[in-house]
Each structure stands twice: as C-alpha cells, then as structure tokens.
C-alpha cells in the first residue's frame, strides 16, 4: 500500500509506513467489523454502502469454514494479542484485560462475527457471560447484542459498549507481523494453511 503524495510504503497489518519518507508513521485505526450483510443491514438501516463492480463471490459466511486459520487481533504501541476463531467459537464471551483496558471479546455464531469492546460502562466494569443464547452482564443482568455492543434489555438498555479496533486476519499473517507478542495459551495448535493465491 502506497500513498500518492510521498510514495511511502505502508503495511495493512501494522497500520504503519515501513519504507519511504513517512517510515515509522502510524495511521489512526477506527474500529470496524467484518460481518454478513444481513446482520449489518439490520443494525444500520440508515447507513450507506459502497457498491463497486463485483470482483469475487466467495467471501460469504462459509468463508470461515476452517476457523483455525483466522484470528481476531489487536495491536497497540507496545503490545499485540490475538484470539483464534477456534477458541472464540467455544467461548462466546471472553472477559480480558488488554493493554490495561478491561475488554470483552464476543462471538456471534449465526453471522460468524468476532468483536472486541471495552467492558466499562458508566465507570462500572462489567463481566459478561453467554447464557441461554444471550450475551448478558453479571452485574446488572442486562442483555447485549454481541455484534453492535448495544444493551437491548435490562437497566442498561440503550447503552453501547465502546468498540476496540480489533480486526480479523489470517493467523499465519498475524503471527508474521506481530511475532511472539501474544496469542492465546489455550490454543497453541498451529494450523498449516495453503499458500494464499494472488488474484491479479
């Protein structure tokens, strides 16, 4: 990835220029989500969509058929960490502290969507669990949407969890760009993925 103005060379996975005039400069990350159209449409009916000519057709819900190849990863200035999809599939709400921030990693099975949110609301840190098909916090019993991070029932109804800029990557790519700086100790199996094809 190059910028036209300085021709510096940028890395997607580092969010940083790794060559050229701007070498070492980091881009500000915005929280984003990879989900299916059905889920996004429902959550953002007032939003917009960038429609270009279709160049592929395979990126659908079943693209993640081999969840061991994918991770949800996050990086900061000094630390990076990832959670494999194979772990998220089993634990739909993981309460963690990342970079001194209490966070929850959620996984929505129907849409195969992984997200990370801060789990502090109104100065209160919440503990999340997934029970009877719903994401709820133990402190207030409120029910939360695992993709939007909004409370849909309970005393915190209407509140939003603040999303963190975690994103989905191939595990192999993440480990190359953020080596030995994280990973989940509960899943150390390293899948061998086929080489990525460059679809020119």
């Amino acid at each position: 990835m190059f910028d036209q103005q300085t021709k510096s060379f940028w890395s997607h996975l580092l969010g940083e220029a790794i060559d050229g005039e701007l070498k070492g400069t980091k881009l500000t990350q915005y929280p984003s989500v990879m989900t299916d159209w059905k889920t996004w449409r429902k959550l953002h009916p007032q939003g917009s969509v960038v429609l270009l000519q279709r160049t592929a057709n395979e990126y659908r819900r079943n693209f993640y058929q081999q969840p061991e190849f994918f991770v949800l990863g996050i990086y900061g200035n000094s630390t990076a960490r990832f959670w494999p999809f194979s772990q998220l599939q089993k634990n739909l709400a993981i309460n963690e502290t990342w970079d001194d921030i209490p966070v929850v990693i959620t996984f929505d099975r129907p849409s195969f969507t992984a997200r990370m949110f801060r789990r502090t609301v109104k100065d209160k840190t919440l503990t999340f669990e997934f029970k009877q098909g719903k994401l709820r916090d133990q402190e207030t019993g409120s029910i939360w949407h695992p993709v939007s991070g909004q409370a849909t029932a309970g005393s915190l109804k209407g509140e939003f969890l603040s999303p963190m800029p975690a994103f989905i990557s191939y595990r192999e790519a993440w480990e190359k760009f953020h080596p030995t700086k994280g990973g989940s100790s509960s899943d150390l199996r390293r899948p061998k993925i086929p080489p990525l094809s460059l679809d020119m």
Binding site: M34, W37, G47, R60, K176
Partner: protein, 106 residues
C-alpha cells in the same frame, strides 16, 4: 561410523540453533521482504470517486450471507462488501466518512 554420528550431531545443533533464532525473532518483516512483490504489482489509480448507496436502496444487489466490512465514524455508518474489494487493484478505498478521511482496506 563414529565420525558420521559426530557430523549428524553438529548438523542437529545447527538446525536447532537456526530454529531457535527463528522462534525468538521479535521483529515483523521489514520492507525488503516486499521488494519482489513491489516489482510484480504495478501501481494502480487510487480509488477516490464512487457512489455510496443508502442501505434501504440496496434491494437484492447483495446477498444476505455476503461478508461486508462495516465502519461507523462520528455517527455515520458505511459498509464495504468484501466481494467488491477483492483483487490488488481494489483493496484500498479512499473515503470520507463522518468528516474524517479514511482508507478502508482489505
């Protein structure tokens, strides 16, 4: 025979030492690694002009199970269908959303 054992031993030590240095390497790949790719892929015109369609007007242009990259900036939400961002000439969309200049990349 003893000499063969000795040589195999040295070889194993070398292989292990190489493996260990690989494991302990903490630096991500540097720019040099991408040089062959940079020669192979020609620069393309940046994508800066395109239309954004309201969610309500999409109809059946997208399938319910298609993957989208979604982002909300200053209250404005926008989706980028991954099946339209695939391929080296498509992977960066230079956009403005919620008053902020962003690059949606895949």
């Amino acid at each position: 025979m003893k000499r063969i054992h000795w040589e195999i031993g040295i070889l194993l030590i070398c292989v292990s030492a190489y493996g260990l240095t690989r494991l302990l390497r903490e630096e991500p790949p540097d720019a040099d690694l991408f040089k062959p790719l940079r020669k192979m892929a020609n620069p393309f015109q940046p994508i800066t002009k395109f239309e954004a369609t309201d969610v309500g007007d999409i109809g059946d242009q997208l399938n319910p199970d298609e993957t989208v990259l979604g982002v909300t900036v200053n209250g404005q939400s926008r989706a980028y269908p991954i099946n339209m961002l695939s391929g080296p000439t498509r992977e960066i969309i230079n956009d403005d959303l919620g008053g902020i200049a962003i690059a949606a990349t895949w």
